[in-house]
């Protein structure tokens, strides 16, 4: 557990220094752990595990958009757990209609070992993808759905790479906001 978190911290430091590959490895390493933790948290709260992938994606987006709040001199585990817990609570509140108290005591103590359950596709977020401003939608479509690079996206949409980067960032922030809509 300690080794894993030390590895995450190392990858996050490299990512913050500009290493995109390290960032992808970090997110790929976090995802199965977040998935197991989301399933456990949902089960503990008596909610269906079917939504776990929404929680995973919302947590990954929050980790991304708030990564400047991690203090690189501190362990990364408590930071990840606090975000995962926060997003799980948000999700449960949304599902249960703003019920204030969610029984997930002890959730923050540990992150479980990852499991091999395959991820499912989420549908919650699709309506928000469709509602993004045109440029953000086009850029997100290219990079997220069609898996083409920022440079190729710029060429295809006839805009600068800088404009693609801005639209991508705003698009991701809008998707995260879409998740929060009912709070």
């Amino acid at each position: 557990m300690q080794d894993r978190e030390a590895e995450w911290a190392g990858l996050m430091r490299a990512a913050l220094a500009g290493d995109e590959g390290a960032y992808r490895r970090l997110l790929n390493s976090l995802a199965p752990v977040l998935r197991a933790s989301a399933r456990r948290g949902l089960a503990r709260a008596g909610a269906g595990e079917g939504d776990s992938e929404d929680v995973v994606q919302e947590t990954l987006l929050a980790i991304h958009l708030k990564r400047h709040t991690w203090d690189a001199a501190r362990p990364i585990g408590p930071w990840v757990r606090a975000i995962a817990r926060n997003k799980l609570i948000d999700h449960l509140r949304r599902r249960s209609g703003a019920r204030a108290d969610v029984p997930i005591d002890g959730f923050e103590e540990i992150l479980p070992a990852e499991t091999n359950t395959p991820p499912v596709e989420t549908r919650d977020v699709e309506p928000y993808l469709a509602k993004l401003p045109v440029r953000q939608r086009d850029v997100v479509q290219c990079i997220l759905k069609e898996d083409i690079s920022i440079r190729e996206t710029a060429v295809r949409l006839k805009i600068s790479e800088g404009a693609v980067r801005v639209a991508l960032h705003r698009g991701l922030a809008m998707i995260a906001k879409g998740y929060r809509r009912d709070l």
Partner: protein, 212 residues
Amino acid sequence: MRTNDLIRAIAADNATRIASVERWLLISLLAATAVSAALFAAMLGPRADIAIASGTFGFWFKFAFTLTLALTAAFLVTRLVRPGADAKLAAVALVAAPLLLAVVVASELTQVAPAMRTAKLVGTTWRSCLTFVPLLSAPILFAALIALRHGAPTRPALAGAAAGLLAGGLGAAVYASYCVEDSAFFLATWYTLAIAIVTSIGSALGARLLRW
């Protein structure tokens, strides 16, 4: 949306950099305090007897108390915007200003005749204090909440309250050179109440505005 696709898109956005919350807080507080000082200059201005008053302990202690409060609240804010960060030390540090005030109130108790105490406590300008301290704190609270939105407070109401305490402390410091009350009794009653009002407004706004 498949998680693997999302991860690829997030990684592609790695180049985007966001400044630390501390930096946001510093810049927005400087700007907002300048706005608040301009409001102060336009509406109030320093007291007429400032040349004499500035030679007294009571005058300067108002700044010591309010700025200590603001500083310790700022420290707490920087803890509360980081998920999983330990806020215990910052919470303990918050007692510094009240402790300081308690010491000065105790010493004033020994110097002021009992018959005079009530008059000093009530003062003559408490309405002005309760009006202008929240008013001068408003731009600062607004700026602090904007800076906090760049952070990730897991307890939005508490973070909003800390922002309110910070704004109330700074706003009261801006007000202090107009205020003619130099008794610690007045400070302990009306400044504290005015700052408490700003703190509760901060808490209510935080609960609504600081979700992420």
